[in-house]
């Protein structure tokens, strides 16, 4: 059997084209079902009682009055969740400990942040559920709290966990601490490197915790039958992960939990963990009726994970000709109430875009009385790279060098040794810098109070366990099933690949996202892995189909395997055989499938390896209003290496979305706490995210430096675009105002204060 490879040689060349989104009609007509759109007959409404205190011991929970309220069908507390041993599991960006997970979904010994779940009620109506919550009598012993990361690290700070001892330090501490872990990477000799430097810039930066800000709140509908098997519909980035967590937390067999992922109105990392899902199943199991739970926006802010706020100290040295010779950084990341901030990737990424011989980065993972952080797009990287990119800009100014040229001179390339160890394969940073430099944007003049900034960014990307299937239907059409929720155009990207691999029209492939009963374990949509890994699984599934079709054709034609080949959607006879028989299309095989061995399909089951890092460079123009401190983004260009864009429109969408989220992080977004440890802005009115009218069209430049480990050259693209905006905007602010802003967000009050301090707040 001769078999063609990939890269569209079999088909119509859909890969790399902007095909119509298969799920588009349902999305624009409102037919698509998101988490809160699922309902079942006889369902109850679940509500969560949340802690009003940022830190308190849970002395007693008395639910008797609530249980007596007519219409209340079930109440759950800590007593409904068996305790879990300390065991780390992958959860989005970091390892998470089940001992902490069980305490995060339902407080146990203590409440550790305002909004921490204390009990949950299922009742016949939302009104009854709310009344029942008020009847639950909780006795708290209020404890001192700590919100700020630096204060949490100080000796004498209120301790959240008596059994948390700082890891990664010698000697092993004998007293508990809020510092969960110290991590460090070292390359070369950083002190020797600084001795070679002609110029050294040292700065301290502060970033605020920001929420992923997905439009769709968390929602779950659970139905547990009398035999103990459960069905769950929820909005998640990974329904297989939800299944695993729920089964573990509730002592159920995984086979007895079936999870269907709804359409998802944004996740950005925040829907890689469980909150309502195990509660809904526990309530349904107790009430013996379906239970639906939907978070309010306030609950989303208070009880689901934002990303870390941080304090970052950076010191960089360069020679007079612009060569970076040393880089040091110390990162202090908030983890929220439980250990597990993204400080480790922050440490790895800080200097990853650059080829520097001497690097030392230290990181601290610090707990405080805030909601446990969750992953957020390139977790940890925007924070550390913001600080480094700001210092890189200062070095360029001190040396009177073009900031793009300086980055080009020091850019990581194929063969560069990363500060975290290995040497890089092919990378596209130089190409993105060149692309930006060639834009008309880069050369457009600016006016007073306007500034232009540039910054680069790095993210690793991952692969992981992935299943996908292709099934030939009776009429020759193809059903595609993927196991990762479609957040950013996955269905279209995978359909492009399937159509090309099988050589059939795009419209003849119908993609769906399978539930956990339909495919093998598939890791979540995160780590910029879905299109990368999913397309590899589709290629594998198509390969199986092509082999099967060739084998059947050989039997039908009484031919040897090497007398047939699959090409352009047909099995074709080769050599003399071509004189005797006609090629058979997939549709031809579909008609005789039953008579030639039964249904035809392929099932890709892989652990995808070979993810290639993606680097990007952003260019931003902005204008500062000196009277109000308001910053307006005038123009924005993203250039990023996608390896190969399976579907360019959705790759560009990732670039644009990441840039806009980064703009929000840089300019406005922050969790604001009062002295009482309570969140003061848990809503979109006071938590200011950019909306369409706040940003210009984000220009996207696709750079394609193929990843040699992927059949089409794909690199993940979803995370890198949120990395550069923070630095690019800070650099543009410096040009516009002459002030180096080191604290995010650069919101109007802070900008105005800085201008006033320098007497610059006059037009």
């Amino acid at each position: 059997m001769a078999e063609n490879g990939t890269n569209g040689t079999n088909g119509h060349g859909y890969v790399g084209t902007r095909t119509i989104r298969p799920d588009g009609v349902d999305k624009v007509t409102g037919r698509a079902r998101f988490g809160a759109d699922f309902n079942l007959p006889g369902q109850l409404i679940g509500r969560v009682l949340r802690s009003p205190h940022p830190h308190a011991r849970l002395v007693k929970i008395d639910t008797s009055k609530a249980e007596a309220l007519p219409g209340v069908k079930a109440i759950i507390t800590r007593d409904d969740f068996p305790d879990q041993p300390s065991e780390f599991i992958p959860a989005g960006e970091m390892m998470m400990n089940y001992k902490d997970v069980v305490r995060n979904v339902m407080a146990r010994e203590k409440v550790l942040y305002e909004g921490h779940a204390v009990a949950a009620v299922a009742a016949t109506s939302a009104a009854i559920a709310r009344r029942a919550l008020k009847l639950i009598d909780v006795t708290y012993e209020v404890l001192p709290h700590v919100i700020d990361v630096v204060e949490a690290m100080r000796p004498g700070a209120p301790i959240l966990h008596d059994d948390l001892f700082t890891g990664g330090v010698e000697p092993k501490p004998d007293k508990p601490s809020n510092i969960a872990k110290r991590v460090e990477i070292t390359l070369g000799d950083v002190e020797a490197g600084f001795k070679k430097a002609d110029v050294i810039v040292e700065r301290e930066f502060k970033t605020a915790p920001v929420h992923q800000g997905y439009i769709e709140p968390h929602a779950a509908l659970a139905s547990v039958s009398e035999d103990g098997s459960a069905e769950l519909w929820c909005c998640t980035q990974g329904h297989f992960i939800v299944r695993a967590h729920c089964a573990r937390l509730l002592g159920m067999d995984i086979a007895k939990v079936r999870v269907t992922a709804s359409e998802i109105g944004g996740g950005f990392g925040g829907k890689t963990v469980v909150y309502l899902e195990p509660l809904a199943i526990a309530l349904s199991r107790k009430a013996k009726r379906p239970v639906k739970m939907v978070m309010s926006r306030e609950e989303v802010f208070k009880a689901s994970g934002p990303t870390s706020g941080a304090v970052v100290h950076v010191k960089m040295g360069a020679t007079n000709d612009g060569k970076f010779v040393a880089g040091f950084a110390e990162l202090k990341y908030q983890a929220g109430a439980f250990q597990g901030s993204p400080v480790q990737p922050g440490v790895f990424c800080a200097y990853a875009p650059y080829d520097i011989e001497n690097v030392r980065v230290i990181g601290y993972d610090v707990v405080s009385n805030r909601p446990k952080v969750a992953a957020y797009r390139a977790p940890g990287a925007p924070i550390s790279e913001f600080a480094v990119e700001s210092v890189v800009d200062e070095i360029a100014k001190k040396l009177r060098l073009d900031p793009i040229e300086l980055r080009m001179m020091n850019a990581a390339r194929e063969g560069t040794k990363a500060a975290y160890g290995p040497k890089f394969g092919p990378l596209g940073l130089e190409e993105t810098l060149n692309s930006i430099k060639k834009t008309e944007h880069w050369n457009t003049p600016l006016r007073k109070w306007q500034g232009r900034g540039v910054a680069s960014g790095f993210w690793f990307n991952i692969g992981g366990e992935t299943c996908a299937s292709l099934t030939i239907n009776e009429d020759g059409t193809v059903s595609l099933m993927a196991g990762t929720p479609d957040i950013g155009g996955l269905r279209a990207a995978l359909t492009n690949v399937a159509a090309d691999e099988l050589g059939i029209p795009y419209e003849k492939v119908r993609p769906i996202i399978g539930d956990t009963g339909s495919l093998g374990f598939t890791f979540l949509t995160g780590g910029s892995r879905s299109a990368f890994s999913g397309s590899m699984a589709i290629v594998e599934a198509a390969k199986q189909i092509k082999a099967e079709l060739c084998a059947r054709a050989a039997k039908l034609w009484d031919a040897k395997p090497d007398q047939v080949e699959f090409k352009e959607g047909h099995v074709r006879p080769l050599g003399a055989l071509a004189e005797k028989v006609k090629p058979m299309s997939i549709a031809d095989f579909a008609k005789v499938a039953g008579k030639t061995g039964g249904p035809i399909g392929g099932y890709g089951r892989i652990n995808a390896q070979g993810a290639g890092p993606s680097l990007g460079t952003h260019l931003v123009d902005l204008e500062v209003d000196p009277e109000t401190g308001r910053v307006t983004i005038l123009r924005y260009t993203v250039a990023q290496d996608a390896g190969k864009a399976l579907h360019p429109a959705y790759v560009e969408g990732q670039f644009q979305g990441g840039a806009v989220q980064g703009i929000g992080w840089a300019l406005n977004e922050e969790y604001i706490y009062g002295a009482d440890g309570k969140l003061q802005n848990p809503g979109f009115l006071d938590y200011r995210m950019p909306v369409a009218s706040d940003v210009p069209m984000i220009d996207a430049i696709l750079v394609e430096v193929a990843n040699p480990k992927h059949p089409y050259g794909v690199r993940g693209v979803g995370e890198t675009p949120i990395v550069p905006p923070l630095g690019a905007i800070a650099n543009a602010m410096e040009q516009a105002t002459g002030i180096r802003f080191t604290e995010l967000p650069m919101s109007p009050p802070k900008v105005l204060k800085a201008l006033k301090e320098r007497g610059l707040n006059k037009v």
Partner: protein
Amino acid sequence: MARVVLVGNLARLTGGVAEFRLSATSVKQLFEQLAALYPEIEPHLREGVAVAVDGQIYQDDLFQSIAPDSEVFLLPQIAGG
């Protein structure tokens, strides 16, 4: 023999030894040899580390081959949002 480097805190589990020469021909053998030398590191290898072989990062891939002249780095696992 392959050059094996432990990155970050992993070296704390080997008494500060961060670099080894090991005869492992696969990630599985690498883990077995390291665990035999330093039992304290075994749970961490089991829970999951990323292994960079000649610049390419592999996660949860016990059968990945390692050449005699390979350069191998063991890192904390990497995921994302």
